[in-house]
């Protein structure tokens, strides 16, 4: 077990390093940079020397390899640089949005897991009954419907509904407040995007739970459990679900990592100041310093999520635990 964890942990570093090399050089392979965007973006004539000066100031004039060295060593001394657009420290800019995105992702995951595992299980147990058909329609719809579109529907529903019942339209608050400070207002803002994204998420996980459980229920050891006179409840809970959960947790992990960086449009719809929005802005501004750290953050989240999923695997499956 310890060997397994150690092996997984050791794999994280090279993965991150590989990602760092890729993102650093790919960003700079695209023509243009933040100075051109800022100075030439207005369409007016700009002095070439002025751009050079800007580059000098932001460190873009240094040889690439030196810039890369600064980028990497930045992690050692925990100096991730300043945004090339706003000039504020990257950590501060990301920190502002990270809380919000993390909370939405966690809430969506919670929604998904709480819905998906029981629903998928019931659907598998009652295969080909009306319950199964309802659940399958629910999850097909969830997969077919883009989250942002559901988001728009939710917003419209809120506006029309409150207009109808309260007389005045109500919109979720736009300002993020910490849930520890004002839970009600925090929830009023974030519950909607969590539901909008959680629906699709739970649809994917429900389908996975259903098909994995159906597969497991055909295994020989389930027949053994039946022959031993175990009740259906014990067969599902003790003998089947544990085996069926492996692929489900993989899906949950992948989706979670996606939620942390990929909610660009949904954030737009709900007017949330999250990681996705920051991503788009920094790419548009060719803000290398910001973009590369955002990419690294998303990579880190993906890697850590994978690691957690691997731990869950080991916890569920002794064949991995003792390998």
């Amino acid at each position: 077990m310890h060997k397994y964890i150690a092996k997984r942990l050791l794999l994280i570093l090279p993965t991150l390093l590989g990602a760092a090399v890729l993102v650093f050089f790919l960003l700079r392979a695209i023509p243009g940079d933040v100075c051109e965007v800022r100075l030439a973006g207005s369409g007016l004539y700009v002095d070439e020397a002025e751009i050079e000066l800007c580059r000098e100031k932001l460190g873009l004039a240094k040889p690439l390899i030196v810039q890369f060295w600064d980028f990497i060593t930045g992690y050692v001394v925990w100096d991730l640089g300043d945004s090339m657009w706003t000039g504020k420290p990257v950590t501060e800019e990301i920190g502002l949005r990270f809380k919000l995105s993390l909370q939405v992702a966690l809430m969506a995951t919670l929604v998904a897991v709480v819905i998906a595992i029981p629903l998928g299980a019931i659907s598998a147990i009652k295969q080909d009954t009306w319950i199964d058909y309802v659940v399958r329609s629910f999850s097909i719809a969830g997969i077919a419907m883009p989250s942002f579109w559901l988001g728009i529907l939710i917003i419209l529903g809120l506006l029309i509904g409150t207009q109808h019942f309260l007389g005045t339209p109500w919109m979720p608050p736009i300002e993020y407040v910490s849930p520890f400070k004002d839970l009600a207002s925090n929830m009023a803002q974030l519950i909607w995007p969590a539901v909008a994204t959680g629906y699709r998420y739970s649809a994917v996980a429900t389908r996975m739970t259903r098909s994995a459980l159906l597969e497991v229920l055909r295994e020989d050891y389930i027949r053994t459990a039946r022959a031993k006179g175990m009740t259906e409840k014990i067969i599902i809970n003790r003998h089947a679900l544990k085996n069926a959960m492996l692929p489900v947790f993989t899906i949950i992990g992948i989706e979670f990592a996606f939620l942390m960086g990929g909610l660009v449009v949904t954030e737009q719809v709900f007017n949330l100041n999250g990681i996705g929005k920051l991503f788009v802005e920094s790419v548009q501004a060719q803000d290398f310093a910001m973009t590369q750290q955002l990419v690294m953050l998303v990579v880190l989240i993906a890697v850590v999520t994978n690691f957690v999923v691997d731990l869950v695997y080991a916890w569920l499956d002794p064949r991995i635990r003792y390998a």
């Binding site: 050891y221 053994t224 022959a227 014990i234 085996n243 002794p318 064949r319």
Partner: protein
């Protein structure tokens, strides 16, 4: 000995897109207390399905028991409620399956898989169940039972897993164990050990055993009685002695000629049965063995022969059962 299990006209079919599979067709047999009955026949002749039918474990869909009765200790298993049949499974009648590699749950410890039946059926406390589990492992010849209880199936070899399955089957002191090809997946030296163990334990504990196999040679040593199945039907039934030394059905003759025997000189030629077993979706009213039978006559195509009495407890379903001895010697 009193009769423990009476199977009467049991019929199980699978309703598939390519037709109705008549997997078990009107079979009737008894199992007495403490005796060992072997069920033999080629692959696909309905041995497993008949075993699963006894505990109502045939998966629906597509499989369904469509007729017959199974009397076990005065009760019809086919008429019982689901809750009642669950109290028979693993408690009064246990099963050992063919595939030791896949029949144990890979994510649950040996200890849990052994104790859960005892806790469930006998109401033992976890501590009592664990103690008895260790004794059971010892009994089936597994060393260091305490340590094994904490291990998982992948830690054990195939033979050891089958010993665990036997321990599970014995754990609630059932009246009957049904073993579906318990040794087919194991290598030859282990096969003998496992069969020896099962024979020894069932005799010692007075448990009746139905052992399914397609190796008639193996059976003679372990069984009291033998049921020979072909295409979903029992076509010959008798004591192991009778089946082994006076087989009366052409199919049984064929089976015996196709396996090596202890009572014949080494080097005796083995003769496989020509042809393939029939497709169980396309059976007609005649004897299903006739396309492969050396002795077939016109009548075999028209009517299925009834089980004819030959000797006490020895029956065979063949139109030419009276002449079979002359026919056998002539050919």
């Amino acid at each position: 000995m009193a009769t423990l299990l009476q199977v009467r006209n049991l019929t199980t079919q699978f309703f598939t897109s390519s037709g109705t599979v008549r997997a078990v067709d009107n079979i009737t047999f008894d199992v007495d207390e403490g005796e060992t009955v072997a069920v033999v026949g080629e692959s696909g002749c309905g041995k497993s399905v008949s075993a699963l039918s006894i505990l109502r474990l045939v998966p629906w869909p597509p499989g369904k028991i469509v007729g017959g009765s199974i009397n076990f200790m005065g009760q019809d298993l086919l008429e019982m409620s689901n809750d009642d049949i669950r109290r028979v499974r693993g408690r009064e009648i246990s099963m050992v399956f063919q595939e030791p590699m896949t029949s144990l749950n890979p994510v649950l410890s040996i200890g849990l898989q052994l104790t859960e039946t005892m806790q469930h059926h006998l109401g033992l406390s976890p501590a009592q169940a664990l103690k008895r589990a260790a004794e059971l492992l010892e009994m089936v010849g597994i060393s260091e039972p305490k340590r094994r209880l904490a291990q998982f199936p992948h830690h054990l070899s195939g033979g050891m897993r089958q010993r665990v399955m036997i321990a599970v089957a014995l754990s609630c002191e059932p009246k009957l164990i049904i073993a579906d090809e318990p040794t087919t997946a194991l290598d030859v030296t282990i096969q003998a050990q496992i069969l020896e163990l099962m024979k020894d334990l069932t005799k010692r504990l007075g448990v009746a055993l139905v052992v399914i196999t397609h190796n008639l040679g193996v059976v003679a040593r372990y069984a009291d009685r033998v049921n020979v199945m072909y295409a979903g039907k029992i076509i010959e039934m008798g004591s192991a002695q009778q089946i082994y030394h006076q087989p009366h059905h052409p199919y049984t003759l064929g089976l015996l000629a196709s396996v090596p025997r202890m009572d014949q000189p080494r080097g005796t030629r083995l003769i496989p049965i020509d042809g393939q077993p029939p497709d169980l979706t396309r059976l007609d009213g005649g004897c299903a063995f006739r396309p492969r039978c050396r002795f077939a006559v016109d009548r075999c195509a028209q009517e299925f022969p009834p089980l004819e009495n030959i000797d006490s407890g020895h029956v065979s379903a063949c139109w030419r059962v009276k002449e079979i001895n002359e026919l056998k010697n002539a050919s």
